[in-house]
Symmetry: C2
Subunit: 502 residues, 2 copies
């Protein structure tokens, strides 16, 4: 705390520094005095605010680096690649070879080097191919123009520039081009305009095109090599991990949500909000997943991923997961009504609902483990059977409840209703209003297994496409299971299905 | 159909052209013969496939252009801007002024010109500021390096390049920088490395920096002017329209969904799938909205939007709309169970549920109109009241239903249950299993008005922040309404709330 009163300068101020978050909150009470004092205060204020902001920024950046050190590595990699490329300027022999266009190598490194290998390769190839195509076309048009006389030449060059630039810009709106070749199209326009326009001045067009291409190849290969060899970040790997993490978050969210609903306040600790709302990550990661899958398609084989790994299948899994997350969203919105639900019915439902919940959750976790280890397990069928059994239990319980007795007058006169309800209430009656929230919650909950099964199907399709191996521990069990239950299992499934359809 | 048999060349082929979609499906049965024939077939195949693909691509592009002619205009604008900038090369006086670096102007136009004004301005400013900062810093460091002797010079230049490039690359990971200054950071690294590295060779550093800056300013101002003056596409306007369209889609989806659920098959036409699933647009447009809002913040005042229009508020409206869409998703998943619902109860519920539905839908449509006309109407309060009244009706109906009679043995022995249920079934009883789907649907439906109210609140906040004017037709009515119901309305609202909380 600072309290300063300057009677001479007639400046009075108080500075309150909130020690909790370090932000200062200043109250200034200035009386008319020399501008000097005011200036000092103002400067102090600005400096303080600026340094606070800077500090906060640095703090955030520090946390970013600590959370994911690979980001720091990426920055060092960019620094290394740029330093290496700038050596072209310093070492005479190299400099003489590539000439003044070494600038293009520097530029390529800066523009092309991205966080993931896939993005770097995608941009590199786009840049190289765009440059080649545009260079060839520009040289061709230049040749045609040079043959058609001095007056027609600028018309042809300008006209072709206008037409090709417009057409290429338009092609960027076509989704297929936008998705994979957006950058290449920009580079196409860029190179075409540079070459075709400067062709009017520079006579050695072929030399220039050759030089530019060679420097771009140097730049791109340097980028690709650095990004692949020095602690690489693979877009495919990132996508794979993101899907696994999101699957675990879905499981956590689901488990917490149902536990929270049936928690009657006896437990001392309730689920933290971030666990309850973990499913929101699944809802919000669509754009990231799509760009990752897009970049992953450019990557060579790495780790456990082949060159033609079915990346698009991950998007299908993600879509199935989002479907499940929508359902959890609806479940979550039921939590606010949990106190209106009938306690006696809740008690009865609690155990079987938690069973559905835990079996769905454990399937999601199992799937995540399978994905993580690139294995298929036969246990999944058993788990799904368990889940469906527990769903059936809930359905049976709901079926076992007595029906509603409706008199024809129900919705017409209220007095007659209450007259009918009076005698019922004297026995062990639960008002329907108390039943509704529970029934809603339960029927949303038994929708979850259907959606979990869709996720299982999507993951199994991935496992088939990517040829995951069966888990080693499972093999004997699987056979045993197969021997025992080839017909039994079928029967079980059939009865299960008929039971469900009833 | 073509059937050709060449006995001489021993080539036999059949071509089946599927006339429906125009795709050809060729079955080749080649017998050993001269390679010539095979080649011809192969060429024909490739040419056919390629031309088919090209045709399909052109068709798609044509439709894109017809659907949104502004896209075509954008392409022409890019063509115009590039042609104008390339004049620098052709006109002597200009050429002498800006020299060989006129290339930068061309490059700036290609890279900076984006579809919307906001994106163009954002990229232009990023490019200009990034270039300035990096240029100043590079010149400063070059000056320091040149003072420190021949041996130390490359060390200082290389070291500063490595450090600054790494630091700037890292700053791109900080979300705040990523969102607004990502491109500027790239340009900063690019300019810094070009200037600092070429400074070792080129003696006239200041001249180069000045030239580059002037060409960039020429390029960016050309881009900004063209994008703003020739049929501009404003990101803000686009965001505004997107939100309005999505709101209408939400209304359509909601109305179709409820109508579909209560449709007992008597109507000949059911809602088309794209109407039912229109809400998915709302779920999927998050990324677009965010980038639009980001770009809109860079735009000057245009149309009915001020410079400091509260663009972030649109994201809040969109979030509220997504919350509502999640609920519609859950409702939609109930449609598959609609046949299991009790018909007699459905009849009773149908009218009041459709009332809730139409009132929520009309509020959404009214909001869309208000947004479109930049007006606030006082009618909204009345509509909300109506909606809440209809929700209350549904709640009252549900309350009026008799309760469930539970005997303590319910969940223990099935035989006793059936014994209890037998006598009940003889009277007018609805089994609970038939009630559950309806009750679930209804309680999801009465969740919708809460979410619609959240949208109304978000839109009202926008109307206040952006100072929307009251609708001219409403003014007298509003006063009347105010005079009449200042206290009444409050009372109504209070009773409504207490009724709801019961």
């Amino acid at each position: 705390m600072t309290n300063i009163k300057e009677d001479a300068g007639r400046v009075e101020w108080r500075i309150r520094v909130d020690e909790k978050d370090g932000s200062s909150d200043q109250v200034l009470e200035t009386e008319p005095g020399p501008a000097n004092g005011f200036c000092r205060v103002f400067k102090c204020l600005v400096a303080n605010k600026f340094s606070m902001r800077l500090l906060r920024f640095l703090k955030k950046a520090w946390h970013l680096g600590v959370d994911d050190p690979r980001k720091v590595f990426h920055c060092l990699k960019v620094g290394i690649a740029l330093s290496v490329v700038s050596l072209f300027y310093y070492m005479r022999p190299l400099y003489d070879g590539v000439g003044g266009t070494a600038m293009w190598a520097v530029m390529t490194v800066v523009v092309v080097f991205e966080n993931t290998v896939g993005a770097t390769i995608s941009k590199s190839l786009n840049r190289a191919i765009g440059t080649c195509l545009a260079g060839l076309l520009a040289v061709g048009i230049h040749w045609v123009a040079s043959k058609s006389g001095n007056k027609l030449e600028p018309v042809i060059v300008e006209g072709s520039l206008f037409l090709l630039a417009s057409a290429a810009t338009f092609s960027r709106f076509v989704p297929a081009v936008k998705k994979k070749f957006d950058y290449g199209t920009v580079i196409f326009i860029l190179t075409f305009s540079l070459v075709s326009v400067s062709g009017y001045r520079v006579e050695k067009l072929f030399d220039m095109a050759k030089q530019r291409l060679s420097t771009i190849i140097i730049g791109t290969s340097l980028c690709i090599l650095t990004s692949m060899l020095v602690s690489p970040i693979w877009a495919g790997q990132e996508l794979h991990c993101l899907i696994i993490k999101n699957m675990e978050k879905l499981a956590t969210s689901l488990e917490c949500c149902v536990a929270e609903y049936f928690d009657d306040g006896q437990k001392t600790t309730s689920a933290p909000v971030q666990n309850l709302q973990a499913y929101k990550c699944v809802l919000n990661s669509k754009a990231t997943e799509e760009s990752m899958a897009n970049f992953a398609a450019w990557e060579p084989a790495h780790g456990s991923f082949n060159f033609q790994h079915p990346w698009k299948q991950y998007l299908k899994i993600a879509a199935a997961m989002r479907d499940c997350a929508y359902c959890i969203e609806a479940l979550n919105s039921c939590i606010s009504n949990k106190k209106q639900a009938s306690k006696s019915m809740k008690k009865h439902l609690s155990d079987i609902c938690l069973k559905v919940n835990s079996s769905s959750g454990s399937i999601l976790r199992e799937l995540a483990i399978n994905l993580e280890t690139f294995k298929k397990t036969s246990k999944m069928d058993i788990s799904i059977e368990e889940m469906n059994n527990s769903v059936q239990e809930v359905k049976n319980y709901l079926k076992s409840l007595p029906g509603l007795v409706l008199t024809p007058t129900t919705s017409e006169t209220k007095s007659s209703e209450t007259a009918i309800m009076e005698p019922l209430l004297t026995t062990n009656t639960i008002p329907l209003v108390e039943v509704i929230p529970l029934v809603t919650f339960t029927s949303l909950l038994i929708e979850i297994p259907t959606r979990v099964e869709a996720i299982v199907d999507a993951v199994e399709e991935l496992a088939n496409k990517a040829k995951f191996k069966p888990a080693p521990d499972d093999k004997p069990k699987q056979n045993e299971q197969n021997n025992k239950t080839v017909s039994e299992q079928l029967n079980d499934e059939k009865t299960m299905k008929t039971l469900q359809s009833v």
